[in-house]
């Protein structure tokens, strides 16, 4: 990579890292893994930088890298590789004893299989259409529909969302599925 290309890449990373890190965080559930995941996806992008002609499509490329890497069954943790000035969160920190509605949803999300979680994130955080989600995930639109539907059912059935009558979490849990 020549100096100009490196500078272009640096500019891209500086501009897009915050948003991409948030997506990685949605996928992993904690900051440490999110940093690690994003670094991996950006490193792959770095290696492919000279071959990526359509710079408008970069976010899609990185997003696909994030999802593919995260959903890789054989993904291993590499805690020595991410660089961050903030200490990583401790496992379990996100599941608190005193859950409000959003905390409950967040915790329930962590119980989903990686692929289901990724589809929920792409559909409800990234606001991608089913077709766009299918492209990122490398699956058919039908698979997106069925997997997302299963994920929502699982969220609804989560014990974290089924509490006492009158609790807003219970209202969410008994609402019909809209997938």
């Amino acid at each position: 990579m020549d100096e100009q290309a490196r500078e272009d890449f640096r500019t891209y990373v500086a501009a897009r890292s915050p948003a991409l890190l948030r997506t990685a965080y949605m996928l992993t559930g904690n900051r440490a893994d999110a940093e690690d995941l994003l670094q991996t996806a950006l490193a792959k992008t770095y290696l492919s930088w000279d071959r990526i002609r359509d710079r408008e499509a970069l976010d899609g490329y990185v997003r696909r890298g994030l999802v593919n890497t995260q959903t890789s069954f054989w993904r291993r943790r590499k805690v020595d590789e991410y660089a961050t000035e903030q200490p990583p969160e401790q496992p379990g920190r996100d599941v608190t004893a005193d859950l409000d509605l959003h905390d409950a949803l967040w915790s329930a999300l962590s119980s989903l299989p990686k692929r289901q979680r990724a589809m929920v994130v792409l559909r409800y955080y990234e606001d991608l259409s089913e077709a766009e989600t299918a492209r990122v995930m490398g699956v058919s639109v039908g698979t997106v529909k069925s997997t997302t539907s299963r994920a929502l059912v699982k969220l609804r059935e989560s014990s974290l969302l089924t509490t006492a009558p009158g609790d807003p979490r219970t209202a969410l849990a008994i609402d019909g599925v809209h997938a």
Binding site: F9, K44, H102, L105, L109, R115, H178
Partner: protein
């Protein structure tokens, strides 16, 4: 939109909003990139730690005599050379390394991966993609293995028996059911099934070929020459993918060292080819009516003929299949040629007549209804209009003119499909859709719904 949808969005965004990135992450990224590059060069092929995801291509056999012109080796190496080949006799034209779907290569790999239950599940998934019945599918496992910790993956060749068309692919058992990671037509004479399989950091290339093939080699673009891929079974080898995926190559040698196949390696980073996914404009509506796989397959062949392509290049989803008392059978598909958008395609078979194809324009986003017209119905003095509305539609009304009152035409038991006895040569009539509350959501002249591929009559 449900409360859960809204709360999910709010919960995710609330979480994300408090996150701030580390300053200047470039140094870390470059360190990681160097490590990946180093791994690509040095990785011993620990294939058991890798798993599949998705891009692949089927490569027809390349006659040795064609190699020098079509694909020279990427670098000069002391490796095998292409042997001169005399003009083949008819008997010699049968390539001993080609995959014959009627008599496929023997299964290699882990027998646990091809349990009948798994094969049944994979067959159902494959049949659903093809829009055929599972009884119409013959799926043969070629190679299977289990990746750490417990993900079975399987190379297969599958044939739709009613049409004779074959595909090959890779399926993986996932938590959400079988995933056809590779699913592409099988050209005649295919000798190598190379799949690019993204890994953790290093993508891998897995090639399945005839057991009688000798060495399988990989040629990266970094001028390091051909290197032998790691053999994990007879005719099966893997290697990390390195270098520029646009230039990586793979070749196979016969037992005597002669090149029997050479071609580009598939690209793990490339966008997924259209052959493994549906076009964006596929409606995704439920299948209505009574399935008739043979009729739907004939319709798919009719679509291929109308588009001037091979059947194997055509995919489709069924919108409705049905028949009427005079014996006409029809199906309405969304069909598409690989890499092209989907079109609505009607197919009507009437006793004593040639089948009638009805090709509509490229399906537009937000399509509310599609229709075909059954004509020359034996014993009737009207045509029959078949209207398939989008799911969730309430009543379908038919208006004979702009000022006429609409009459309900939805048929009970057909999941919202409407049938209209339409006067011969009718003009100015229209279709109206109501929602569940009886509110009009759509009105369109029938003539618009019957537009051909290139225009409306």
């Amino acid at each position: 939109m449900s409360p859960l949808d809204d709360e999910l969005r709010a919960a995710l965004r609330g979480r994300a909003s408090v996150l701030t990135p580390a300053p200047d992450p470039l140094a870390g990224i470059e360190r990681r990139a160097k490590r990946i590059r180093r791994n690509r060069v040095a990785a011993s092929v620990a294939g058991s730690a890798l798993a599949v995801a998705a891009i692949a291509l089927a490569v027809p056999a390349l006659a040795p005599s064609a190699l020098p012109d079509q694909l020279p080796p990427p670098v000069a190496t002391p490796g095998p050379t292409v042997a001169p080949s005399p003009a083949p006799s008819p008997a010699q034209q049968v390539n001993p390394y080609a995959l014959d779907p009627a008599d496929p290569w023997p299964y290699r790999g882990d027998p646990e991966v091809r349990t009948q239950g798994d094969l049944d599940a994979y067959t159902v998934e494959f049949a659903a993609r093809r829009g055929v019945l599972t009884d119409d599918v013959r799926l043969t496992p070629l190679f299977g293995q289990v990746y750490e910790p417990s993900v079975p993956e399987l190379f297969y060749v599958a044939t739709v028996t009613s049409s004779g068309d074959s595909w090959w692919g890779v399926v993986q058992a996932s938590e959400s059911g079988p995933e056809l990671l590779v699913d592409v037509p099988l050209p005649d004479g295919t000798t190598a099934l190379p799949a690019a399989l993204p890994g953790d950091e290093v993508a891998r290339l897995l090639v399945v070929a005839a057991p009688s093939v000798g060495r399988i080699e990989y040629g990266p673009d970094d001028a390091s020459g051909w290197t032998a891929m790691t053999s994990i079974a007879d005719g099966v080898a893997i290697t990390p993918l390195e270098g520029d995926p646009a230039a990586d190559q793979v070749r196979m040698l016969g037992p005597d060292g002669q090149v029997v196949f050479s071609g580009l390696a598939p690209d793990a980073d490339a966008p997924e080819p259209a052959t493994t996914g549906d076009p964006d404009n596929v409606l995704g509506w439920p299948v209505r009516g009574v399935a008739d796989a043979a009729l739907e397959e004939r319709a798919a062949r009719g679509f291929a003929q109308a588009k001037g392509v091979a059947r194997a290049e055509v995919s489709f989803s069924v919108l409705v299949t049905g028949n009427n008392d005079p014996g006409q059978r029809y199906t309405v598909l969304q069909a598409w040629v690989t890499g092209q958008p989907a079109q609505v395609f009607g197919w009507v078979e009437s006793p004593g007549r040639d089948p009638e194809p009805q090709l509509r324009p490229v399906t537009e986003p937000g399509t509310a209804a599609v229709a075909i017209l059954l004509t020359e119905i034996p014993g009737r003095t009207t045509d029959e209009l078949v209207v398939v509305p989008r799911p969730g539609t309430g009543e379908v009304l038919y208006k004979t003119s702009a000022t006429a009152q609409g009459r309900p035409v939805t048929v009970d038991g057909l999941d919202g499909v409407a049938l209209v006895d339409r006067e011969l040569g009718a003009e100015g009539d229209s279709i109206v859709l109501l929602d569940g509350d009886g509110k009009q959501t759509f009105e369109r002249p029938v003539s618009d719904l019957l537009c051909g591929e290139t225009g409306c009559s």
